[in-house]
C-alpha cells in the first residue's frame, strides 16, 4: 500500500507537471514498459478531470446563485407573467411580425407614392378647347358675338356655340386641321375666318389616338383660297427652337410665342412636343410654327399645374392623317410644297400671311 501511495503521488505530480524533466522522462519510459501503470495513469487522469469538472460546475453554480440573488425575480415575474388579456399576449408574441408588416406596408406606400410622383409630370393633362357656355358670364361680349355671328350663319341656328377651338387650312379647297377633342361631340361645326365669315364644315377624318381631326368646309358660300403659304415640316425639330402659334382663345386671333422645351409630351408621350408657350382654352387645334413658318405641330393641351408647359402633336402625324384622305379630293396639295414662301420674312409679315388661314372653330351639340 505504501508503494501504491507513492505511485499515486508520482502520477499526480506527473499529471500536474510537477516532475523535473528527467523524472518525467523516466516515468514516461515506465509507462511504456508497464501497461498496468500506464492504465492507472490514464484512469487517474480521467477521474481527476471529472472531479475537477465537478468542482468547476459546483463553483459556477454557486456564482450563479450569487448572481441570481441580485435579481429581483419576484418583480420580473410579476411583469412578465402571461397577461390575462388576449390582445396583450398577441401583441407580445407577435411584436416582431407586426413590426415587419408595418414597415413593409410603409415602404410599399412610400414606393408607390414616389413612383407616381417621380415618373409622371405633375398635374394633369388639360385639353384646350374653350367651353364657351361656362365662361359666357365672364365674357358677355363673346356670347353676343357668337349669337349674332356673321351674316352667313343659317337662321335656324338659335343656340350659341358650346365649344370653341382653332384650326388651320391644309389645302386651298377647304380642308382644315384641328384637334379631335375640339369636334368630339359635335352635332354641327362652323368655322370662322379672321374676317368674321362663318362657314359650315363637316368632320372628314378623325384620329382619336393622335387627337387629330380633319374638317372639310362644305358651305356653298366658301370660295377657295389661295394656296396656304406654310408647309408641314416632316422631320422633327430640336429643343430650344423658337416657335409661335395663332389661335382663338377669344374672338380675335391671338399670337403666342415660345420655344420647344421637350421632345416628348405629357408623361413622355413621343408623339408630342412639350412647348413653353402661353396658351388658353380656345388655342386647341392651332398651328405651331417655327421661325421659317413651317408647321411643326398642332397645339393640343397644357399641363394645368405647371407654368408654361403646353403640348403639341408633331406635324408628322398631321401628314399621316392627311394621307388617310383620298388624294384627289384634297386638290392641289400646297402644304407639301418644297418651297416655303414664308422663309426669310419677318414675324409680322408671316403672321399677316398666315392669319387668314387660321380659323376659329365653333362646335354645337
Amino acid at each position: 500500500m505504501r508503494n501504491d501511495i507513492a505511485l499515486e503521488t508520482i502520477i499526480e505530480d506527473y499529471l500536474q507537471g510537477k516532475l523535473t524533466a528527467e523524472e518525467a522522462k523516466a516515468f514516461e519510459q515506465l509507462r511504456l514498459d508497464d501497461p498496468v501503470i500506464d492504465h492507472r495513469v490514464v484512469a487517474h487522469k480521467v477521474f481527476l478531470e471529472s472531479l475537477a469538472q465537478y468542482g468547476r460546475v459546483l463553483s459556477l453554480k454557486q456564482q450563479m446563485d450569487h448572481a441570481h440573488a441580485r435579481i429581483d425575480v419576484a418583480g420580473l415575474t410579476e411583469k412578465m407573467r402571461p397577461h390575462p388579456s388576449f390582445i396583450v399576449n398577441l401583441w407580445r408574441k407577435n411584436k416582431s411580425a407586426v413590426a415587419i408588416a408595418a414597415s413593409f406596408l410603409l415602404l410599399t406606400i412610400f414606393s408607390i407614392y414616389s413612383i407616381q410622383h417621380n415618373t409622371k409630370q405633375n398635374g394633369t393633362y388639360e385639353v384646350m378647347r374653350r367651353e364657351i357656355t361656362t365662361i359666357k358670364n365672364n365674357q358677355n361680349k363673346l356670347v353676343r358675338t357668337l349669337n349674332s355671328a356673321g351674316p352667313k350663319v343659317p337662321k335656324g341656328l338659335a343656340s350659341s356655340a358650346k365649344f370653341g377651338g382653332t384650326g388651320f387650312a391644309l389645302t386651298a379647297n377647304g380642308y382644315l386641321c384641328t384637334n379631335y377633342h375640339v369636334v368630339r361631340d359635335a352635332d354641327s361645326v362652323y368655322v370662322q375666318n379672321s374676317k368674321g365669315e362663318s362657314f359650315k364644315a363637316k368632320v372628314a377624318y378623325r384620329d382619336v389616338q393622335y387627337d387629330i381631326a380633319i374638317l372639310k368646309i362644305i358651305d356653298n358660300s366658301f370660295t377657295p383660297l389661295a394656296n396656304p403659304p406654310y408647309k408641314l415640316k416632316k422631320n422633327s425639330i430640336g429643343m430650344g427652337e423658337n416657335v409661335y402659334t395663332l389661335g382663338y382663345p377669344k374672338d380675335d386671333v391671338v399670337l403666342g410665342e415660345g420655344y420647344v422645351s421637350s421632345k416628348t409630351g405629357h408623361g413622355g408621350d413621343t408623339t408630342q412636343y412639350q412647348v413653353s408657350i402661353p396658351i388658353n382654352p380656345g388655342n386647341s387645334g392651332g398651328p405651331l410654327l417655327d421661325d421659317q413658318g413651317n408647321i411643326i405641330g398642332l397645339i393640343t393641351a397644357k399641363e394645368n399645374q405647371v407654368e408654361g408647359a403646353a403640348f403639341a402633336v408633331k406635324s408628322k402625324y398631321i401628314l399621316e392623317a392627311l394621307n388617310a384622305i383620298p388624294s384627289d379630293s384634297l386638290g392641289k396639295k400646297a402644304v407639301f410644297s418644297k418651297k416655303n414662301p414664308l422663309q426669310g420674312l419677318s414675324r409680322t409679315k408671316q403672321i399677316d400671311k398666315i392669319g387668314k388661314y387660321v380659323y376659329m372653330i365653333n362646335v354645337y351639340n
Binding site: I5, Q53, Y54, L60, I71, P82
Partner: protein, 188 residues
C-alpha cells in the same frame, strides 16, 4: 455608476473573454443580462420562476463548457444561443413531466443546439454521479478530497486544518478516501 455599468448586458465578445479568464464579473453580467428573457419564455410556457432558474443555470453551464472546450465558434448571437439551449432543455423537461405542450410560444430566434446538449447530458450525468459519490463518501473524506482536488489546498494546509500530526498521515488518508470515492463513482 459602476454598479449600473456592471448590470448592463455585456457584449458577446466580453462574455467569451470573461469566461475564458474566469471572470466573475463577466458571469454576473451575463447572468443578470439574459435572465429576464429566459424567465419570460418559461413563464409563457407553463413554468414558474424556479423552473426558469434551473433551466437558465443549466444553459449557462452548457455555454461555459462549450466555450472552455476551446472549439467555440460564435455562429449566432449569444442571446440566440442561450435562448435555444433553454428552449431545448425546457422542452425536454416538459416531456419528462408529460405535460401537454401544444405549441411552444417562441419569443426569439432559435439555432440548432442538439449536439451541445447531448454532450451536456453526459457531463450532467457524471456531475450527479460525482455528487452522490461524494455525499456517500462521508466526512472527513469528502472535505479532504474537495480541499485537495477542488480547492487546491496544499497537503500542509489540510494537515493543519484537520489536525493531523504530519503530512504523510494526510497522504495516506487522502489515498484511502480517493480509492473509496473511485469505487463509489464507478459502481453507481
Amino acid at each position: 455608476m459602476s454598479n449600473k455599468l456592471s448590470s448592463s448586458v455585456p457584449t458577446d465578445r466580453e462574455v467569451v473573454l470573461g469566461i475564458l479568464n474566469n471572470s466573475e464579473d463577466a458571469l454576473n453580467r451575463l447572468y443578470i443580462g439574459y435572465f429576464p428573457m429566459v424567465l419570460q419564455f418559461i413563464l409563457n410556457n407553463n413554468g414558474d420562476e424556479d423552473d426558469a432558474k434551473d433551466v437558465y443555470q443549466e444553459a449557462i453551464i452548457v455555454l461555459y463548457n462549450k466555450i472552455r472546450s476551446g472549439d467555440f465558434e460564435l455562429s449566432s448571437k449569444l442571446k440566440t444561443y442561450i435562448y435555444s439551449v433553454c428552449r431545448r432543455i425546457w422542452l425536454k423537461k416538459l416531456t419528462q413531466q408529460s405535460k401537454k405542450i401544444n405549441n411552444l410560444s417562441d419569443l426569439e430566434d432559435v439555432v440548432a443546439v442538439e449536439v451541445d446538449l447531448e454532450q451536456h447530458e453526459e457531463k450532467e450525468l457524471q456531475f450527479e454521479k460525482m455528487g452522490s459519490a461524494l455525499v456517500s463518501l462521508g466526512e472527513p473524506c469528502k472535505t479532504i478530497i474537495q480541499d485537495f482536488y477542488i480547492n487546491n489546498l496544499s497537503m500542509q494546509d489540510i494537515c493543519e486544518k484537520f489536525g493531523y500530526t504530519n503530512t504523510d498521515n494526510v497522504k495516506t488518508q487522502k489515498y484511502k478516501c480517493l480509492q473509496r470515492l473511485k469505487k463509489l463513482f464507478f459502481q453507481s
